[in-house]
Amino acid sequence: MELTRRGFLKASGAGIGVAALAQLGFPTAAFADGEKLRIQQAIETTTVCPFCSVGCSAIVSVMDGKVVGLEGLPDSPINRGTLCSKGQSIFQIANNDMRLEKIRYRAPGATEWKDKTWEDAIPAIARLIKDTRDANFKATEEVNGQQVTVNRTEAIAQLGGAALDNEECYLESKFARSLGLVYIEHQARI
């Protein structure tokens, strides 16, 4: 829509003040013809920092699907607009040139890394987990001279990632316990 000067004065809702100025003969052309700049649009969305148990809130600015800004959420009663140096770095979870984007595999004894696909990796990881669990699974254990059911394996440990959110941590721990893991740890504790 191309706006005329008069059209702008009405459409902008700049209101009767600017319209009155025009009637008084003040130069208001700048209001309509001002700078013709390229305009960009971004959205802001809130998120919770995953790095520790404080639970600070942040605002993430996104443009064309990419994170372009990060700041503390001033409305949060927890951090009141501030973020610690680690919290400020959650920007790098999304934007990071060092982040691996392919599966990398180094065979036992090998010195070189190779690229693999998810189709290769997921069955191989599942196989290793299953074989390790089956080989080391304890259904029962003697306690005070009696055999009691324990259904566990001590051959696998699980470490949750710091960038996981609450729901992902829940799913991971549920999955690990269903396999019988007892060594379950997480860095964030949120």
């Binding site: 829509m1 706006l3 702008f8 459409a11 902008s12 809702g13 700049a14 209101g15 009767i16 003040g17 600017v18 319209a19 009155a20 100025l21 009637q23 008084l24 003969g25 003040f26 130069p27 208001t28 052309a29 700048a30 209001f31 309509a32 013809d33 001002g34 700078e35 013709k36 700049l37 390229r38 305009i39 960009q40 649009q41 971004a42 959205i43 802001e44 969305t45 809130t46 605002i59 800004g69 700041e71 503390g72 959420l73 001033p74 409305d75 009141r80 607009g81 501030t82």
Partner: protein, 289 residues
């Protein structure tokens, strides 16, 4: 909440900066400086007064969403107002004195000045000017003149009230002190709090960051902002729910007390144009309305 502290020197400095980016604003920026000088000079003659509300009443009204200065609670000294209108009228005449030639007749009649004051105070809520229609001056021009002439009375009364009120987070798009629409807002540099400034009494108050100040939606899918490429410090926040927008300035190194938002508003007209082209209406007033 720190309130604004602006003076002629600060306005002069800022106006010079804005002029460098848009020479077309010269006339309007000069007008604002002249208007401000008169408001400050004659505003000194407004008698000091005790606040009409006590601390508890102030908190109560804010909690209830009621403004602190109702139309019948503003104390306007007619003699000072008449002097203000006279001098501002001279400035507004500019190149063409014809639209304001009836002003002298109005100023000669105290009763008419009082009638217009009451009409202004009642009608500013309704966004129409029919009470101004019988004065012989175009209602739009007279409304603007009344707005800038009465503003210093609001400044005076608002400054005593805002010192006693907690205006850190008042989730509304109209001024908690006088009920007027904001001129625009800014993000406080130290914590990103969004602060709006009233277009009439100059009071600043904080509102939640992720909320449209006009329809109060907090649906983040309906909120976005636009900016000129390369300058994220000046933004227009758009609301898809009510199709209105508000311009926001980020710190940009300027001390917030010295931020002159009326000038910033005039200098960011490219954002008004861009928002209007996208079908959004301005939710704020200007310093002249």
């Amino acid at each position: 909440m720190k309130q604004r502290k602006i003076n002629k020197a600060i306005i002069g400095r800022r106006a010079k900066e804005y002029l460098e980016s848009n020479r077309g604003l010269k006339g309007v920026l000069k007008l604002y400086r002249d208007v401000f000088s008169i408001q400050k000079k004659i505003g000194q003659k407004i008698p000091d007064q005790l606040p009409h509300l006590k601390g508890g009443e102030i908190s109560f009204r804010i909690e209830e969403g009621r403004r602190l200065i109702e139309p019948d609670e503003l104390e306007v000294n007619t003699a000072v107002l008449r002097e203000m209108m006279k001098e501002l009228g001279e400035v507004l005449k500019g190149e063409d004195s014809k639209p304001l030639e009836k002003l002298e007749d109005i100023l000669a009649d105290d009763e008419e000045v009082r009638r217009l004051t009451e009409a202004f105070l009642e009608e500013r809520d309704g966004d129409d000017t029919h009470g101004m229609a019988e004065s012989g001056i175009e209602p739009e021009i007279l409304y603007m003149l009344m707005h800038i002439a009465i503003a210093p009375f609001f400044w005076k009364q608002a400054s005593t009230l805002s010192k006693k009120a907690d205006l850190g987070q008042v989730p509304q798009g109209t001024c908690p002190v006088c009920g007027e629409l904001p001129i625009m807002g800014f993000l406080r540099e130290e914590d990103g709090l969004r602060i709006l400034e009233c277009s009439l009494c100059g009071t600043r108050w904080g509102i939640p960051r992720m909320m449209c100040p006009f329809c109060r939606t907090t649906d983040q899918k309906k909120l976005s902002y636009i900016f000129a490429e390369g300058d994220q410090s000046r933004r227009a926040y758009l609301c898809e729910a009510c199709k209105r927008y508000i311009k926001i300035r980020t710190g940009g190194g300027q001390g917030i007390e010295e931020m002159v938002l009326p000038l910033e508003d005039l200098a960011t007209v490219h954002l008004d144009n861009a928002a209007a082209e996208r079908g959004y209406e301005r939710g704020c007033r200007t310093v002249f309305s």
